[in-house]
């Protein structure tokens, strides 16, 4: 069996009496892939990505990176393993410049801690252009609040790209965006994949998800209920599956997808 970049085994997490995740298995392959996490509100999508990024600690279960078991998983370890998380709307410091946002927490400095501002600006400039960022008001010194929603997501994704993330996690990257802006974000994601970065994203829009994703993982009430990939399903089929799951009130067996993939 090939090693996987990330593997989660039997992950459980509960908040008080609420079982957010019950023995979830999840993985990301070694070669870049785009995985869509789909599910209703409260299905445990956010909990799952928070555990991957180390913001939440699982109650039980194991996390493996490149086949190696990771103990005391944390935000720092997650980042050290090349996992970048982009949270919707709060990924950026809006009153700061674009360059400062890209280098937030990882400033390029000399040994005295003074920033190499010119270098940061130039790098930000180059980076934004490589991901096809073309805004009229754009400059490395632009204040992020002046950018559109899609462009902000772009900055956040670019940041992940720059630091050569192996895996970028996007929490509902397109929910607040117009159609054209959402397309722009998906372009960024595809660019990231070409650059060698896998991507997990949460979305409610299955048609969007279908267009870019290699694999779909559907969660319901804290369980992975279905897993399929691009070649083996269609957007219509996915929507039907989702409706079936929603109607079943949590009684759908996890093997709904047996035989298809």
């Amino acid at each position: 069996m090939k090693t996987k970049f990330l593997e989660l085994k039997n992950i459980s997490k509960s908040f008080g009496k609420v079982n957010a995740l019950g023995r979830v298995n999840f993985y990301i392959k070694e070669e870049p892939e785009i995985v869509a996490l789909i599910g209703d509100n409260g299905a445990g999508k956010s909990t799952l990505i928070k555990i991957i990024s180390g913001v939440l600690i699982q109650d039980c279960g194991e996390i493996y990176i490149n086949g190696k078991r990771m103990k005391n998983w944390s935000v720092a370890k997650s980042r050290a393993s090349g996992i970048e998380t982009v949270y919707q709307d709060r990924a950026l410091a809006l009153q700061q410049t674009l360059a400062r946002n890209i280098f937030m927490g990882r400033e390029l400095t000399n040994i005295f801690g003074f920033m190499k501002n010119k270098l940061q600006f130039a790098e930000a400039d180059r980076l934004m252009r490589t991901i096809g960022f073309t805004s009229k008001v754009f400059a490395s010194g632009s204040i992020v609040a002046k950018l559109s929603g899609g462009e902000r997501q772009g900055v956040a994704i670019a940041r992940a790209l720059y630091f050569k993330a192996n895996l970028t996690i996007l929490d509902e990257p397109t929910t607040a965006l117009s159609l054209t802006e959402a397309e722009k974000v998906f372009d960024f994601i595809l660019q990231a994949k070409e650059g060698g970065s896998s991507c997990i994203f949460i979305t409610h829009n299955i048609y969007h998800a279908y267009y870019v994703s290699d694999r779909f993982v559907i969660l319901d009430r804290g369980r992975v209920i279905m897993e399929t990939d691009h070649e083996h399903t269609t957007a219509e089929q996915l929507v039907k599956d989702m409706q079936k799951i929603a109607k079943s009130n949590g009684k759908v067996k996890e093997d709904i997808n047996n035989g298809r993939s």
């Binding site: 990024s53 913001v55 935000v75 720092a76 980042r79 998380t85 949270y87 709060r90 990924a91 950026l92 410091a93 809006l94 009153q95 700061q96 400062r100 946002n101 280098f103 937030m104 927490g105 990882r106 400033e107 400095t109 801690g113 003074f114 920033m115 501002n117 400039d125 252009r129 073309t134 400059a139 010194g141």
Partner: protein
């Protein structure tokens, strides 16, 4: 591929063009807060000069003001960091008299004044560190915490010193005295220290990782944490910085007024004046952005109002009126510019 290069090249050109054309606009845009503060200050000085040209075109008034102004400048600059990180510190004046007490008591006991000053600064830093820990580690609200610290220190200084003032006259003329509050010609040396403090604070705020981190933390705490900024450490350091400045300002004030007063006249007035300087300078209380140079100008503005109103021939109590007026005008102009 060649096509792409060409496209890239074109993009480069337009970008270059846009940048050069917008250079001045950008500069104004990036520094608008400090610039507004500067304009307010210049208008104020014009007004005072027209009202009383003899005084305001002479040197004496500036020499007099530059004697005590450095205390406020030294206090205001680090406080910008705390306010940008979306916290507040109201204990810095009490911290100042606490540090001065330590300086005066040890100097009186015959210790080397340079060492005493170091002790005073360390004491100030320690208070700042405790503030920072209470606010950032334990998670208390900075407003309440520092009000508590303010009363605690005031009580400690009054009780600990038995309300006995200590005269520092014996330091006059020593190399120590001349280093910090002596004169070059008629120019007070402490103003040079204030400018050094300004340069340090501007370097830290605009060019150092610390300033960048402070801005990010005040702008978006959660995201900063997720991006790996050590938020507790950074925010605590800002409080420590204020503490260090309070220690230094404490010693300066001791040397300027040549005594330690356990119950200083009106500590709250100084506190409010320093806070007003920062807001007139253009640093908003909402965090994330601020200007060091603006705070410097703000400190000058507030100080000149005090003297200027009297020299312009008005009664002293009009000072407060003008203070208030300038604060409101400055805030309105900052807001007005922003909303465009």
């Amino acid at each position: 591929m060649a096509d792409l290069d060409k496209k890239q090249n074109n993009l480069d050109c337009t970008q270059e063009f846009r940048r050069s054309r917008r250079g001045i606009t950008n500069f104004i845009d990036n520094n608008r807060r400090a610039l507004i503060a500067l304009i307010v200050f210049i208008i104020l000085m014009l007004f005072f000069t027209i009202a009383n040209p003899k005084i305001f075109l002479g040197r004496e008034i500036y020499e007099a003001i530059f004697r005590s102004l450095p205390i406020r400048i030294v206090l205001a600059l680090p406080l910008v960091f705390v306010i940008v990180s979306r916290e507040i510190d109201l204990s810095f004046v009490s911290n100042m008299s606490f540090s001065l007490w330590i300086f005066a008591a040890t100097a009186k006991a015959g210790w080397n004044p340079f060492l005493c000053m170091l002790l005073a600064i360390l004491a100030g830093a320690l208070v700042g560190f405790i503030n920072g820990m209470l606010v950032n580690r334990i998670g208390l609200q900075s407003l309440m915490t520092t009000i508590g610290m303010k009363f605690l220190l005031q009580g400690l200084v009054a009780g600990g010193s038995n309300i006995i003032p200590i005269s520092l006259n014996f330091l006059v003329g020593t190399p120590f005295y001349n280093t910090f509050v002596g004169n070059i010609g008629n120019f007070p040396v402490q103003m040079i220290w204030a400018v050094i403090a300004l340069v340090i604070a501007m370097l830290l705020f605009n060019y150092h990782k610390f300033g960048s981190n402070i801005s990010c933390v005040g702008d978006n705490l959660e995201s900063s944490r997720e991006m790996g900024i050590r938020t507790v450490r950074v925010k605590t350091l800002a409080f420590v910085y204020v503490g260090i400045a309070s220690g230094f300002a404490g010693v300066l004030s001791g040397l300027i007024y040549l005594s330690f007063q356990p119950r200083p006249g009106s500590p709250d007035e100084l506190m409010l004046a320093v806070l007003a300087s920062i807001f007139i300078g253009g640093t908003p209380i909402t965090g994330g952005v601020g200007t060091i140079f603006g705070a410097f100008i703000g400190a000058c503005t507030v100080r000149f109002i005090q003297t200027g109103v009297i020299e312009a021939g008005l009664m002293g109590f009009w000072t407060q009126f003008f203070n208030g007026l300038i604060i409101l005008l400055a805030l309105t102009s900052h807001k007005f510019y922003k909303s465009r």
